[in-house]
Symmetry: C2
Subunit: 102 residues, 2 copies
C-alpha cells in the first residue's frame, strides 16, 4: 500500500487567517467587535479568518489596528508558522535521492 | 515654519513589491524571465513590484517559486522592512505626551 503524502502548497491567506483569528481570540474579542473597529463586514472578516478571502493591504491594516497588533508582528508570526508547517512536511516525507543535474 | 511629518500608513503590497523586485534583481533575473516562470503576465508582475496590484496567495507562491525564495523568507524580509520604516517614522516624530486613560 502506498502512503500518499500530502504536500499541498502553503496558502498565505489561510495561514494569515488563522493568525488573525488566534490574535483576536487571545484578546477575547468577538468577530463583531473587530469588524466594527476595522469597519469591515462581519461576514467578510469571518471569510478572511477562514482563509477564504484575500485581505487587501488597507483592510489588513484596519484589522491589525482593530486587534492592536503591528502588521510586522502578524507577518512574522505567519512566516514562523509557514516555516514550522514546511518542517513538519519535510519530516513526513520519505527520503528520496536527489536528481543530480548533468 | 511647520515641518510636516508624513506618516502615511505602511501598505503591505508596496513593501512586498519592493522586496520582490529586490530579490529578482539580486538574482539578475528580468521581469520577462520571472513572469515566464511564474506564468503571470509581465505587466501584472511589474504592477505587483510597483505596489499597484495585490498578489493573490497563489500568485505569490508562483513568484516566490520563480525567484527560488521561500515565501516565509519574503514575509520575514517584508516584516523587517516595515519595522525599520516605523522606526524611521518614530525617530522623525516630535515627542508628544501620552494621553493617559482615566
Amino acid at each position: 500500500m502506498v502512503t500518499e503524502v500530502h504536500t499541498r502548497p502553503v496558502i498565505l491567506r489561510e495561514i494569515l487567517g488563522e493568525s488573525l483569528r488566534e490574535l483576536r481570540t487571545s484578546e477575547n474579542l468577538t468577530l463583531r467587535e473587530v469588524s466594527g473597529r476595522a469597519q469591515v463586514s462581519l461576514g467578510y472578516l469571518s471569510e478572511i479568518e477562514r482563509g477564504q478571502k484575500e485581505a487587501s493591504s488597507e483592510l489588513l491594516n484596519a484589522i491589525c489596528g482593530a486587534l492592536g497588533v503591528p502588521l510586522s508582528s502578524v507577518l512574522r508570526q505567519v512566516s514562523d508558522r509557514i516555516d514550522s508547517l514546511r518542517t513538519a512536511q519535510v519530516t513526513q516525507l520519505p527520503l528520496r535521492p536527489r536528481v543530480q543535474a548533468a
